[in-house]
C-alpha cells in the first residue's frame, strides 16, 4: 500500500485532467494497475511534500451483475479543489462517491484517497438514539470532549441544538448536524452525496452558502455529487459530467466568488452543462 504513496505523479496531471477522458480510455490502458483493493495514502502531514492529489483514480471499474456501472474511470482531484460531479440518475456518480468513501470495495483499478475523509449523505443519517453532539463525536478516535462537538456545531450554526435528539431537528438542521459530523473529522477530502437534495428551496440556498464558506475556511478538497447544475456551477472549481461510467465532460468554472446566478457567464456555463446532460435550454427550445 505504502508504495503508492510516493509514487511519482506527473506534474502535468492537472492539465491532462482538463481534457475530457475518452469513453474507452484505451490510450491509458497500459498504465492501469488492476488491483482488487483500495489503496489509501496516509494523511498529508505524514508525507513530507504535500501530495499533488487529494484523489487519484485510475482504471476504476465497478460492475453490478456483470454490467459495468463505472467503466475504466479516471479522476484526479487537487488538494483543496471543489469538484462537482453531475450526471443523470443511475449514471454511477453515487457509486463513485461510495467507492471513494471506502464503502464499496468490490472494485477493480487504483483508487487513492486521503486517510482523513468524511461523507455527508443525502439523508442526514444521524443515529436517532444519540443526542446531536454525541452523533458529531461518533467514531472519533479516543475520547474527545464535548467541546469539540460544540465547536463544530457552532461552525454550522447549530450550537444551540447540541443537546437535542436528532428526530426533533428540522431537515435543514439535521443536514447541518451531518455536515458538522463530517467536518469535525478535519477531512482532507469531503464527500457530499446530494446533501441538499431533500431540503426545501430556501433552506437549500442557505446550506449551499454554508458549504461554500466552510470549504473556503477549511481548504479541504470537496467532491459534491449533485443533479443540480446551478448548485454545481455556484460552488465548484470544476464540474464533471459523468455518463456511461466515465467522466464524459469537464469544465473549469473560473467565475469570481461569490458567484451570482444572474451573471450572464453563469447562465452560459449552466446552459452548456445542461446541454451536456441532454436537457435543452429555454433559449434553444424557443
Amino acid at each position: 500500500m505504502a508504495t503508492h504513496l510516493h509514487r511519482p505523479v506527473s506534474p502535468t496531471a492537472p492539465e491532462a485532467a482538463q481534457t475530457s477522458s475518452g469513453p474507452t480510455g484505451a490510450d491509458r490502458a497500459t498504465e492501469v494497475t488492476v488491483t482488487k483493493e483500495v489503496t489509501e495514502t496516509t494523511d498529508a502531514s505524514a508525507a513530507a511534500p504535500r501530495p499533488a492529489h487529494a484523489v487519484r483514480v485510475e482504471g476504476l471499474t465497478r460492475s453490478f451483475d456483470g454490467r459495468p456501472v463505472i467503466d475504466d474511470l479516471r479522476l484526479d482531484v487537487r488538494p483543496g479543489e471543489f469538484v462537482a460531479l453531475l450526471g443523470r440518475s443511475g449514471c454511477g456518480k453515487s457509486t463513485l462517491l461510495r467507492i471513494l468513501a471506502g464503502l464499496d470495495r468490490d472494485i477493480e483499478g487504483t483508487v487513492l484517497v486521503p486517510r482523513r475523509k468524511a461523507v455527508a449523505f443525502q439523508a442526514p443519517r444521524l443515529m436517532p438514539w444519540k443526542k446531536v453532539w454525541r452523533n458529531v463525536l461518533l467514531g472519533l478516535p479516543g475520547k474527545p470532549a464535548r467541546a469539540v462537538a460544540d465547536q463544530a456545531l457552532e461552525e454550522v450554526g447549530l450550537g444551540h441544538r447540541s443537546d437535542a435528539w436528532p428526530k426533533t431537528l428540522s431537515g435543514g438542521e439535521a443536514q447541518r448536524a451531518s455536515l458538522a459530523r463530517a467536518l469535525v473529522r478535519e477531512p482532507d477530502l469531503l464527500l457530499l452525496d446530494e446533501p441538499f437534495g431533500a431540503l426545501d428551496a430556501l433552506t437549500r440556498i442557505k446550506a449551499q452558502r454554508l458549504v461554500g464558506e466552510l470549504w473556503q475556511r477549511r481548504g479541504c478538497a470537496v467532491l459534491l455529487v449533485t443533479h443540480d447544475v446551478e448548485e454545481a456551477v455556484l460552488l465548484a472549481d470544476r464540474v464533471l459530467v459523468m455518463d456511461e461510467g466515465v467522466i464524459a465532460h469537464e469544465q473549469e468554472i473560473d467565475l469570481d466568488r461569490p458567484r451570482d446566478i444572474a451573471d450572464p457567464r453563469f447562465a452560459e456555463i449552466r446552459g452548456q452543462l445542461l446541454e451536456r446532460l441532454g436537457v435543452a435550454t429555454a433559449a434553444e427550445a424557443a
Partner: protein, 306 residues
C-alpha cells in the same frame, strides 16, 4: 379559545363573539354596529368546548364498572348468584382484607413474584443471548436460528409433564416453564430488531470509522432496543400466563396454590381475590416496562408516554 379574529381583550369584536352568542343568543348580536351574522349570510362556528357535556370523562368511564359491581352485588344479595358460583363483591373485599391481615396473601405473592422474576431473568438472558448470537453473526444464525424456530412451535405448557419428570415438583419446573415461555418472544423480537436496523445508519457508522464492535455498540444494539422492548412486553404477559399454569400443578405455596386450595373448598371468594392479584401483578409488570421504555427510548418522538 374563541375563534374570533379580534384580539382576546377587544371589547368590540368585528363579528359577533361566538361563545357569547352560543350562551345567550338573544342579546349578543345587534347591540353595536356589527351586522347580524345570519343577515350577512355568515354562519357561526361553534367552539367544540361549548358543546361538551359537563360530566368529566373519568367519571363517565368509571360508571360502567361501578354499575356492573352494583348489579353483581344485587344478584348476590337476592340469591340469584349463590356463593358457590360466585361470591358477592362485598364478601370478596372482606376475604381480601382477611388474607392481607393474616399475611397469607403477602407470602403467596412473594413466592409467585420470585418464580416470575427467576424465570424472567433466565429467559431474558437466554433469549437475548441467543438473539445476539444469531443476529450479529451469520454463523450463529445458521446454527441457532433453525433449532430455536423449531422449538418455538412446541406449546410450552405441553412440556409441564416432561418438566415434572425432569425437575420434580419443587421450584425448578415452575421456573423452567416460565423461562421457556419468556425465551422465545424475546429471541424473536431482539433478533428481528437487530436485523431490522437501518442499513443506511450502519453504512454511516462505517463511514465514520466505527470498528465492528463500535458498530454493534453504537448502532446495532440501540437500534434493536425498540424491538427488544416489544419482546419484553410479550414476555411479561407470557410469564404471568406460565406462572398460572405452573402453579396449578403440584404447588405448595404461591397464589396458584391458594387458588387450588380454594377450589377444593369451593371458596369462590378466595379464587376471585387471587385473580385480582394476578391482574394487579400484570399491571405492575406493564408499568415497569413502560417506565423502562420511557427511560431507554426517550429519543423516539413517537413515544408519548407521560
Amino acid at each position: 379559545m374563541s375563534i374570533s379574529h379580534a384580539p382576546p381583550d377587544s371589547q368590540e369584536p368585528d363579528i359577533s363573539d361566538i361563545s357569547q352568542q352560543v350562551n345567550s343568543p338573544g342579546n349578543a348580536v345587534g347591540s353595536d354596529a356589527t351586522p347580524d351574522a345570519t343577515a350577512t349570510g355568515l354562519e357561526p362556528i361553534v367552539p367544540a368546548s361549548s358543546r361538551r357535556t359537563r360530566v368529566p370523562r373519568w367519571l363517565r368511564r368509571t360508571t360502567g364498572p361501578v354499575l356492573l359491581l352494583i348489579l353483581w352485588q344485587l344478584l348476590s344479595a337476592t340469591g340469584v348468584l349463590t356463593p358457590d358460583v360466585l361470591a358477592s363483591p362485598g364478601r370478596i373485599a372482606q376475604v381480601a382484607g382477611d388474607l392481607i391481615a393474616d399475611g397469607s396473601l403477602a407470602s403467596a405473592m412473594t413466592t409467585s413474584l420470585q418464580r416470575v422474576a427467576g424465570g424472567l431473568l433466565l429467559g431474558t438472558v437466554i433469549g437475548t443471548g441467543l438473539a445476539l448470537v444469531s443476529g450479529l453473526f451469520r454463523v450463529g444464525e445458521d446454527i441457532v436460528d433453525a433449532p430455536v424456530q423449531m422449538l418455538r412451535t412446541v406449546p410450552f405448557v405441553g412440556l409441564i409433564p416432561l418438566f415434572i419428570i425432569w425437575f420434580g415438583i419443587g421450584e425448578a419446573p415452575k421456573i423452567a416453564i416460565i423461562t421457556l415461555g419468556v425465551t422465545f418472544p424475546l429471541y424473536l423480537n431482539v433478533y428481528a430488531g437487530i436485523r431490522g436496523v437501518d442499513s443506511q445508519l450502519i453504512e454511516a457508522g462505517e463511514s465514520l470509522g466505527l470498528s465492528r464492535w463500535g458498530l454493534v455498540r453504537h448502532v446495532i444494539l440501540p437500534g434493536a432496543l425498540p424491538g427488544a422492548m416489544t419482546g419484553l412486553r410479550y414476555s411479561l404477559g407470557i410469564a404471568w400466563l406460565a406462572l398460572v399454569f405452573a402453579e396449578q400443578v403440584n404447588a405448595d405455596s404461591g397464589i396458584g396454590f391458594l387458588m387450588v386450595q380454594a377450589r377444593d373448598f369451593l371458596r369462590t371468594d378466595v379464587i376471585v381475590v387471587c385473580l385480582i392479584v394476578y391482574a394487579f401483578l400484570g399491571l405492575l409488570a406493564d408499568f415497569i416496562v413502560r417506565t423502562l421504555e420511557r427511560l431507554l427510548l426517550q429519543w423516539r418522538p413517537t413515544f408519548t408516554g407521560r
